[in-house]
Assembly symmetry: C2
Homo-oligomer: 322 residues x 2
C-alpha cells in the first residue's frame, strides 16, 4: 500500500476511491497515507453547503459543478446524508448526479452516511476533504443537511459556507435555527422562481441585520443573500462570484490564516474530544452509567461534582511511555 | 467543620456565607458540606437573568426581590459579574443593593467575579445555587452578563431564564446573539418608559417568530415578551406572573424532570470536561503545545489526527485503583 499516496498524487481516481474507503473505516493504512499526503493539501477551496432537507442543495451543487467545470476547474463533492443510512448515504439524487459526471475525471462525488455520531462524521468528512485536496481538486464542496449539531459543525469547517433556504415550504425561515445563521458566509435562496422567494430573501436580510454583529467591524463579513433557480438559471453566476468574493476577502489581511487556525483547532479539538469519549466509553457500560448518574443527581443522591469524579476516576493519570 | 451543614439547615446565614467562600475556592471542606446538604436541594425555583451590560438587570433583580419579599418569600441572588475582576465582582450597584437588603435575613446576595474560565465559573455558580437551595431560599436568581459563552451557559442552567434587552442603545437587538434568544424562556424589555421600547418589543416578537420552532409542538413554550420599567413600575407584576406561568408549565406533564435531567447532564458534562482539561493542562506546558500543534496543522506538517494523538498520548488508559 506504500504506493497509494503516490498514485493519488499522480491523479489516479481509483486509488483515491480506495483511500476514501480506508478513511471512512478509520483504517490505519488510510491514516498513514493521509500523513504522507497532508503536505500536499491547503490548495483547494473548500465550500460547505448546508440547509434543510429538500432545500435544493444537490441541484445547487450540480449547478456549481457545471460552472466550475466550464471554467476548467476540477470539483470534488462530499455529500453527507444523514437521512439515508440504508443506502449508505447515496440517495437517488446522488446516483443521478454521479451518473451525469461519471465519465468526467475532473469531478469526484463521494456520499457519506452519517451513521457515525459524536464527531465521527465531522472527522471522516474532513479527512475525505483532505484527500480530495491532496489529489489536486480545485474546489471541494461539502454538502450537509443543516439540522443536526454535527452537520452544522461540518459546514462551519469549510472556508466558505453557504446557508441554503428554500421558499414556499410554509414555515419560511422558521426552520432556520438561530445558531445556523451565524455560520453562513453566503445566504442562498434556492428555487427563486417560486413566488415566495422575494419574501424569504427579505426576511433573511432582516434576520441578518437583527442578529449579526454591527457592521462597522472591519473584520465583519456581511453575508450576501443570493437567489438562485435551477429552472431559470438565475443567480448561479452571482453565487460563484460571491464565493470568489468571499475567498478574496479571506485572502486579504491574512484573514485566512486566522480562519485556518480556527478550523485546525476545531478539528484537533473534535478528535481529542472523541478520543477522550472513546476512552471513557471503553470502560464497562459507561453509557448506561452516565444515565444512572444523571438520575442520581436529579434525585439528589449525589452532586454533579461526585458524578463527574466517578466518571473520571483513575482517568488521565500520568502513565506516559518514556 | 462537621457542624457547617447543620448550621446552614438551621438558617444560619453566617455559616452559609462561609460555605459559599469554600465552594468558590474549590475547597474540599465545601464540597463535602455540599455532599451532605445536597439531599435538601431541589425545592427552590432557580431563575436565570441574562442580557447585555447596562441592560438594567440589577434593577430588575431588585424589583423581583421586592415582589417576592412582599409575598413573604425568601430570595437569594448569585450575581456573576465578568466586568469587575478588581472589585471581586461586587459592583457599585451590588453594594447599594446589598446595603438595601442587608438587615433582611430573607435576602442573600452573593457576587462572583468571572475570573475563572473554561467552565469553572458555571461550576461554582451552580454550587453556590445548590447551597442557597439547601439553605431553604424559595427563589434563587442567577444574574449574568449575557455576552460570553460561559455566562449564557450559566443562565441556561436555570429552570426559568429571562433574556433582558434594553431599548435605545442605538443597536437594538443587534447585540443579541442568535444563540442567546433560544435560551430565553421570557424576553424582558427593560426601561420600557423609553420611546424605543415598543419597537424593541415588536422586533423581539418578530425575531422570536422567525427563529423559533413552529408553535404546534405541545412541548414548545412560546416565550412571552414583557416590558418592565423601574421608573413607572410597569410590568414587574406581569413578569412575576410570567415566571410563575413558566413554572406551572414545566410542572405540567413532568416537563420539569426532563429539564432537570438536561441541567444535571450539563452540570456533570461541564465538570467532566473541566476535569479532563485540567488533567491535560497538568502536563508540562500543554497549552503552548496546543498552539504549536495548531500551527503545525495549519502549515501542513501534521494532520489533526496526529495532533490529537500527541495530546492524548498515554491519556485515559486503564489504571484504576482496584
Amino acid at each position: 500500500m506504500a504506493g497509494l499516496s503516490e498514485r493519488i498524487l499522480a491523479g489516479d481516481n481509483l486509488a483515491l476511491a480506495r483511500l476514501l474507503t480506508l478513511l471512512e473505516n478509520g483504517d490505519d493504512v488510510g491514516t498513514e497515507a493521509l500523513d504522507r499526503l497532508f503536505t500536499n493539501t491547503g490548495r483547494a477551496w473548500i465550500t460547505g453547503i448546508t440547509g434543510p432537507p429538500g432545500g435544493g442543495k444537490s441541484t445547487l451543487v450540480n449547478e456549481l459543478i457545471r460552472q466550475y467545470r466550464s471554467a476548467g476547474l476540477s470539483v470534488a463533492v462530499v455529500a453527507v446524508d444523514p437521512s439515508s443510512p440504508l443506502t449508505g448515504g447515496a440517495t437517488l439524487g446522488d446516483r443521478i448526479r454521479m451518473t451525469e459526471w461519471h465519465s468526467d475525471p475532473g469531478v469526484f462525488i463521494r456520499s457519506m452516511a452519517s451513521r457515525q455520531f459524536g464527531g465521527g462524521l465531522a472527522q471522516n468528512t474532513l479527512a475525505v476533504a483532505h484527500a480530495f485536496d491532496a489529489a489536486g481538486f480545485d474546489h471541494i464542496l461539502i454538502e450537509t443537511v443543516g439540522t443536526g449539531q454535527d452537520e452544522v459543525a461540518i459546514a462551519s469547517l469549510a472556508l466558505t459556507t453557504l446557508l441554503v433556504q428554500v421558499p414556499g415550504t410554509g414555515d419560511g425561515v422558521q426552520t432556520l435555527k438561530a445558531g445556523a445563521l451565524e455560520i453562513g458566509d453566503i445566504l442562498v435562496v434556492t428555487k427563486s422562481d417560486r413566488p415566495e422567494a422575494n419574501e424569504l430573501a427579505r426576511d433573511l436580510r432582516r434576520l441578518r441585520t437583527l442578529v449579526f454583529e454591527p457592521v462597522d467591524d472591519p473584520d465583519h463579513w456581511e453575508a450576501p443573500v443570493i437567489k438562485t433557480s435551477a429552472t431559470t438559471g438565475e443567480g448561479i453566476v452571482d453565487l460563484v462570484q460571491a464565493i470568489e468574493h468571499h475567498r478574496q476577502w479571506l485572502l486579504t489581511d491574512n484573514r485566512i490564516v486566522r480562519r485556518r487556525q480556527i478550523i485546525a483547532s476545531t478539528e484537533i479539538a473534535t478528535r481529542v474530544e472523541s478520543g477522550l469519549r472513546r476512552r471513557l466509553l471503553q470502560r464497562a457500560d459507561e453509557a448506561s452509567r452516565l444515565d444512572s448518574l444523571v438520575d442520581a443527581v436529579v434525585s439528589r443522591e449525589l452532586t454533579a461534582h461526585r458524578a463527574a469524579e466517578q466518571l473520571l476516576a483513575g482517568f488521565g493519570q500520568e502513565n506516559r511511555q518514556p
